[in-house]
Symmetry: C2
Subunit: 328 residues, 2 copies
Amino acid sequence: MRTIEWDEKREAVKLIDQTLLPGEYKIVECKTLEELIDAIKRLRVRGAPALGAAGAFGVVLACTNEKSKAQIEREVEMLKKARPTAVNLSYGVNRALNAAMSGKTTQEMKEYALEEAQRIADEDVAVNKKIGDYGSEFFEDGDVVLTHCNAGRLACVDWGTALGVIRTAIQKGKRIEVIACETRPLNQGSRITTWELLQDKIPVTLIADSMSAAVMREGKVNKVIVGADRVVKEGVINKIGTYMHAVVAKEHGIPFYVAAPLSSFDLKRSYKEVEIEERSAEELIFFAGKQIAPLDVKVYNPAFDFTPFELIAAVITEKGIYTKVSSF
Amino acid sequence: MRTIEWDEKREAVKLIDQTLLPGEYKIVECKTLEELIDAIKRLRVRGAPALGAAGAFGVVLACTNEKSKAQIEREVEMLKKARPTAVNLSYGVNRALNAAMSGKTTQEMKEYALEEAQRIADEDVAVNKKIGDYGSEFFEDGDVVLTHCNAGRLACVDWGTALGVIRTAIQKGKRIEVIACETRPLNQGSRITTWELLQDKIPVTLIADSMSAAVMREGKVNKVIVGADRVVKEGVINKIGTYMHAVVAKEHGIPFYVAAPLSSFDLKRSYKEVEIEERSAEELIFFAGKQIAPLDVKVYNPAFDFTPFELIAAVITEKGIYTKVSSF
């Protein structure tokens, strides 16, 4: 199944619980907006493009029980705030909400929201395939590509952005190997990226995040590709660690690519205006329930960082390439 | 107590089990060479200077049961190989072994080895205090200093190298804050560095390794100091991730210091000749017993990396400063 989809019969959003992978593959059902918001906050569904679809399906869940339009608008505000950094969540909510507003009854609003949400989900897959087409041109037979976090099928509705580019390049007959950084503190790299690549039989080697400079120095990597949570005026906001990989890639003359749909673009805004989500200290003090740091230690745990366009060879989108010197 | 010491009554090496911190503070006793080698391999005792003392005390344990000198030499070869990268282990073994060889009986050999081992342990503390004296001059009131892994009291017999410099600077009345990187995959930073700094009431903030570039960009750090496992002809071999921090420090114009005793120096050797210990894939596939990656994923897990002198402002030793342009 797709990462996230609507179950017509059950009138529910179904999603693959990404917090349980790779140990367990489980489908979670959200029948209420509250359940979906909880799933988003717990990262059962994550990844900017997937959050776009989640936001849209959330509007469908909100359209129940003969609510007034004002009430629905209030409720989906909470949904938009479930995670602040990726722009796609608001994008998905806004599109589905606009569609809903032309409905007269709650039932009609729900139908229109669902049509729009399905459209967003289908567009996401089509967009990723286009990103793959454009992006795959940058990759050559024999490349070893480092990636961080998960910008794959599970970060999207399907196919993936950064990993979608790799999938398309492989589909075109190029042999590509991936080095996946584990991506602390929540290990989306070790848990999800390696899992989805192995499912597709794409060769992947797992490393700790801090090894990226060393593997570059050792000549074990020749390209980097990551996704984006938000593309702003001066660069890209993405999973914490992205900026570190970009700096060390520059030091080693290795091109650093970002793959992102236009729905992640927010070019009128500066990175300084974007809220960088700070997550709980517990993510660094505990691991799998085991204490790994003193309980009273101060922790700084930003979920994202900012990488300026100067360090990025190209942002690969469904409409082509965006760089510091060539905008659309 | 010290990180590692000889228990006269029990005729055993006692050490703080560093794999259990911070959850549990437990003293482990090694009565045989085999037990000590096992403790070294499991990292119950780790850190280049502490391994120097461990190596020397290991020779004492080998001098039992009327063994021949040849047999003792054979046995301590195994000890030297317990961990290949830090030069101090061999250094400690060789010094204690040389001392032992002037004994006539096993009992005499044991006495001489013990005298030498105690000397190495005491010297380590004195050396660290001198490193602290030299190094503290580079640090100013108000500095926020990033460190990686643990080059503190627990990496040494006492006081510490990198953290010893910070301790001395604080003792001299400077207010210093530390940012500790958790240091994947074994989390010596989150488990040990934060613990020993909090014991001394030194302000410390824990971050994930990949956050170091972001905190530098945000202006939250103005110096870096780490230890060394081996100082070679072209630079420093230290815990994996050190090179990454050095590259991003350069990008942000932040001075990068290494603190290391001369017993870690091996200037005749190139980094290319030093075996970089590769540790088990399980360190990245499991965490605290929980599976966090597919069982069949390929893993690259080097325990150390190499940082060239070009990226190092100074190596701080007990005899003063060593840099690319000014050797002793």
